[in-house]
């Protein structure tokens, strides 16, 4: 393994560990969104339950809250689009690199 590869792999492992460790160390924590925690603070400051003056358009369209499963589906779609684009272009770049290297080798011979 080259040095770069080693760096990349170890960096990825560190990132994964930072993400996963809280899950195991904080047993029983809720892991709700910090956005929701924000609305709790608003309630705390204003002293009254805050009533949002605008409901998300999606909730208006489907007439209710987005089901949790559907929400995670949509989040996955978002991730999928991103990962797809990145890997498509990365694949192209890697192949291009390979071809260029081969060409250079032939030239040298």
């Amino acid at each position: 393994m080259t040095k770069t590869k080693k760096t990349v792999v170890s960096l990825l492992i560190i990132a994964a560990l930072i993400a996963i460790i809280p899950l195991f160390t904080l047993k029983g924590a809720e892991f709700g969104g910090s956005d929701d925690a924000g609305s709790e603070v608003i309630t705390e400051i204003t002293g009254a339950e805050y009533k949002p003056w605008f409901t998300p358009v999606m909730e208006t369209w489907i007439g209710g809250e987005l089901p949790g499963e559907i929400e995670s589906l949509l989040f996955c779609v978002q991730t999928g689009i991103g990962v797809g684009v990145i890997s498509f272009f990365m694949g192209r770049l890697v192949e291009r690199n390979k071809k260029e290297n081969q060409k250079n080798k032939i030239k040298k011979q």
Binding site: A19, S34, I45
Partner: protein, 262 residues
């Protein structure tokens, strides 16, 4: 011969892609300007209307600058469209991953640092707003009314902070990868600091005023975000390493490789 064919094919592809980006950008522009649609991860309806309008209006010049900046980059360096698409996709991926944090709640990253470092901060405002609109409409995450405020924090201040830190680190000759890490991590963290300030401005505490509110909101957002900011920094460095290895020519085009190796 095969080589010429390939270039022609690539050019065609690029033109098509350019159109797509232009379309997406136009779409973003219409949304940013038309209904004074507003704010990032401030929830829908949680920001009083006058703040929604204010943040929306503040964002307009940045979005315009971003559009022009992207246009300029693409007309100068046609090939960099692939890297731009990847930077946009990076925002898509990172802002969709909700990650558990030490405080026992979840948050997600912004992914805007990469684009800011590669294409300059204003270009990222376009990439960011596309993601925010996607999330606001489909995911009820963030919101159309808070689009302006959210764009300001995630797609404008975050990238500008990243860019400034990256330039600063470059100036004092810190290792390139370390600067990338710092820039991305601080940009991410600052995004949430700005969100806190925005919420505090809208909801000043009765006893302590805006200052006390900022502290309260920061106490919620900041500790959660610190580990995520570190992860974002790491992932940005990984992508940069990958691009340095495989897309050297494009990075040279957009001026990233000018500093030489590290």
């Amino acid at each position: 011969m095969a080589f010429t064919l390939k270039t022609i094919e690539e050019e065609k592809m690029n033109q098509k892609e350019k159109k797509i980006v232009a379309l997406a950008a136009a779409f973003a522009l219409v949304f940013g300007v038309a209904p004074a649609a507003n704010a990032m991860h401030i929830m829908e309806g949680y920001l009083p209307p006058k703040f929604c309008i204010m943040w929306g209006v503040i964002c307009i010049p940045f979005i315009l600058a971003g559009y022009l900046s992207i246009k300029r980059t693409l007309s100068k360096h046609h090939r960099s469209i692939t890297i731009l698409a990847m930077a946009g996709a990076f925002v898509f991926v990172l802002s969709s991953l909700k990650i558990p944090s030490v405080t026992g709640s979840c948050s997600h990253m912004t992914g805007t640092g990469l684009g800011a470092i590669l294409f300059g901060p204003s270009a990222v405002s376009i990439l960011g707003i596309i993601v925010l609109i996607f999330q606001a409409i489909l995911l009820a995450h963030g919101g159309l009314t808070s689009l302006g405020a959210n764009t300001f924090s995630m797609a404008i201040v975050g990238p500008f902070v990243s860019y400034a830190i990256y330039k600063l680190c470059n100036g004092i000759k810190i290792n390139k990868h370390v600067s990338v890490f710092l820039a991305a991590a601080m940009g991410d963290l600052f995004t949430y600091c700005i969100t806190s300030v925005q919420l505090a401005l809208a909801y000043p505490s009765e006893s302590g005023g805006i200052g006390a509110s900022v502290v309260k909101f920061l106490a919620v957002f900041a500790p959660t975000q610190v580990p995520l900011a570190i992860i974002e920094g790491i992932l940005t460095v990984v992508i940069i390493i990958g691009l340095e290895t495989y897309a050297k020519s494009e990075l040279t085009d957009i001026g990233f490789m000018n500093g030489g190796e590290n």
